[in-house]
Symmetry: C2
Subunit: 209 residues, 2 copies
Amino acid sequence: MGNTLPTTEERILDAAKKVFHSKGYDGARMQEIADEAGVNKSLVHYYYRNKDNLFQAVFEDAFTRLIARLNEIFLSELTFTAKIETFIGYYVTFLSQNSYLPLFILNGMYEKPGQLKIMLAKTKLSPDLLMEKMRIQAKEELNLDIDPFHLYINILALSVFPVVARPLIQTIFGFSNEQMTQFYEERKTVVPEFIINALKGYEKEHSSL
Amino acid sequence: MGNTLPTTEERILDAAKKVFHSKGYDGARMQEIADEAGVNKSLVHYYYRNKDNLFQAVFEDAFTRLIARLNEIFLSELTFTAKIETFIGYYVTFLSQNSYLPLFILNGMYEKPGQLKIMLAKTKLSPDLLMEKMRIQAKEELNLDIDPFHLYINILALSVFPVVARPLIQTIFGFSNEQMTQFYEERKTVVPEFIINALKGYEKEHSSL
DNA sequence: GTCTATATCGGGATAGAC
DNA sequence: GTCTATCCCGATATAGAC
């Protein structure tokens, strides 16, 4: 299993991912998806009945892939700093290889905010648990009283934004594709360092009380 | 001037902003824009000829408003840390009041990446100058050898991402609107502190060489 | 399951009266 | 400048043959 030829349904889903990711819901065309999959337009309807259903499938897949590893890493048995390093390293690589994903998700969230709750249940992601674990671990390992919500968002922001804003950054700084690749590569070390330095700062403040 | 009644053209542009910001280019309907402005659909075409032109106008306005103050702040005569504090404070407020803007810009960049260069010229934003000034100021005031590119992107990321990802954050954390407002309010102090702590960390490393 | 043909509708854009 | 009426294409979706 895994190395068998893709079924027609899988080919359609793959094509749909490509098109929806880059064009968004409104910009995507059923015809383009069919062409991309190498099938007739009505076959797409045969398998997914309508555009909404197909989008649903694509969105769910994207969302799951994006947070699956996140969950894994932060609930693992690594040390606090190792988690941060591992997470940034993984995310920067994954996102720059799937550069359309995060913006696609963000847009989708605005269009169907209610949908997420259902998916959160499916993926068994437990934010409360994650936050609590983060808080405790910071206390035990680094003796820091941190706000896990802000830290968590900071980590996400520093990982996700530079990928989402790629065209903006590239134009403003005038970076070539090669320079951009190097920039992302650098971030794998720069960002964890930045975060850990910031945390150390809190430690200092604390000890001076 | 300024308190005169808006002309029809201005009413149309305002309506277009509302619709494009929330629905994006493909999702926006000329009819909806006309309704929103309280005019006939053909009037929209009379003033802007086609959808593309109208979008152009809206995008340019958004982009200019978003980076105008940024430029101002970072080229001002404030100290380095004051700049960071001022910038975050201003941006978090501005963005949460115009929450559709940043995602709208990011999407627009993917659709028309070439367009930006023209606008950069118009706004007289000079990234090179900005980066150099940042580097020098960090050296002189804090005795730090920083990479201004990464720092600049970090600052933007920490300011912009939490606003762009609002629906995601709100759903994952289960925050109410009030909690979300408070969360943003907290970030005005948390984020500058975070950044400045991170920078101090580099100082320490440096002195240990 | 896969194709062709077609129904149906919506949306951008124009013509032309006032 | 503002409106009504209309054109025309493109896109989703369905019917039905093979």
